[in-house]
């Protein structure tokens, strides 16, 4: 690939490509990501639609937040099971609402750690309706207690 073809102006996502330079030598070149620059909006659109679809299914009681996060974070059942140190069968059970309700806080926390979300995020979703309002969950030293922070612009 010629260096001119590789040049992408996108500071938000930089990477290194190996290119043929004008003098005919080959070497590394730091540039922007082609797909991030040109298709990031499409990625976020699909992500948003996926989150909406799966959240609606959680709301209806068809699935549990375990399945929601598993799909969003692109994990398979067996991979998730290995990460939370449970059998695949147990994870499949936790994807059924009536079994999810019986889960211990200790197991719930193991899932939250893998998904890298506060434990309360497995029991609620935060919807922001006012533009500019910033809501964040802040972890504390107590793993079962988080702070909900609302910044009003």
């Amino acid at each position: 690939m010629k260096d001119k073809e590789a040049h992408i102006d996108y500071k938000e996502h930089q990477l290194v490509l190996y290119v043929e330079r004008e003098d005919g030598t080959y070497g590394p070149m730091q540039t922007g990501s082609y797909i991030s620059k040109n298709y990031i909006d499409d990625y976020w659109l699909k992500r948003e639609n996926l989150e909406k679809e799966y959240r609606a299914r959680v709301e209806k009681g068809e699935i549990t937040p375990i399945e929601y996060y598993m799909v969003i974070e692109e994990l398979s059942v067996s991979e998730l099971a290995a990460r939370v140190k449970l059998s695949s069968r147990a994870v499949k059970m936790h994807m059924i609402p009536k079994h999810f309700a019986k889960m211990s806080i200790e197991v719930l926390k193991r899932y939250a750690d893998v998904f890298d979300v506060p434990i309360v995020s497995l029991l609620q979703a935060i919807i922001v309706s006012k533009n500019g309002l910033k809501i964040s969950l802040k972890k504390t030293d107590n793993p079962l207690f988080v702070l909900l922070k609302i910044d009003i612009p």
Partner: protein, 336 residues
Amino acid sequence: MHVDSFNHTMAAHCESGTVTALLNHSGFPISEPMVFGISSGIFFGYFQTKQFPFPTFVVRNKPGSMRERTAKLLGVKYKTMKFKDPDAGMRELDRLLAENRPVACQTDFFYMDYLPNHVRVHINVHFVNVVGKEGDNYIISDCYSPELATLSAEALKKGRFAGGSFSPKGFLFYVESVPQEIDMAHAIRKGIKKAAFYMLKIPIPFLGIKGIRLFAKKVVDWPRRARNIEHLSHEIMKINIFLEDQGTGGGGFRFMYATFLREASEILKRPDLLEMSERIMGIGDRWREISLFAARIGKRRDLGEDRLRELGNKINSRADEEEVFFKDLLKLSKSL
């Protein structure tokens, strides 16, 4: 505390970049393509297993090979460690940093929260160099970050001790010593021969050239495995990410391999390797055409059977081309 004189630079790939940076820091000047090439990094594998929520492919050899092959072929001595107890793993890292050593750690990429959100996925074979600590934060030299990054101790611990496939178990390594005299020519010969052998001769139907052909065949079936058209579009567009963005140096590592062959040609004084370098650069260009094609049809949701068959045919053409290329490379490697 910071490791003195550690030079952070971006690299195409996390493992070859991490190993290269450690070797350079230890006084052994070597390029990333050379580390990649002598490690026989170029490869292909198509996977459709329970570990992955959707079929996927890799364009490099087994994680960990760069360190193992540079140890074996160059005589570099690495100290490696794994830990059962995460706290012990973190304490050892602190101890090594206090000795002014840059330390390579294997992590789950997902927890590297200094990288853009959309690129972070759960994959346990990401390598970074840890080069300092400030309070509860570590200073990370990650080849995918333009600058040195800061990562909380909690995130690094999670990343180092994530479970699942290729679970890192706190794996870390550092350079103990680099030999005074290195037979680079020998390492290059071995690296080339093994790469060509792996691409052509492994008797497993989803690896090497056979893996590319399987990918070409199976991609037509992907709609059956996708939840809906948006999911299919996402997976098809990931072909671009796997070939270009996910630390390959572009064209599914083929551009980096071309750079290696060019360096090899100079060291071995073999013009025929220069010709091979130009050929694989061209093959990389045509892999990149596939990347761009996948991104375009994914964005347009133009994912009917005919279009996917067209994609499959393009991938098959790469298999044809690479089969001839690696046969020639294997033949050439016997005369090096």
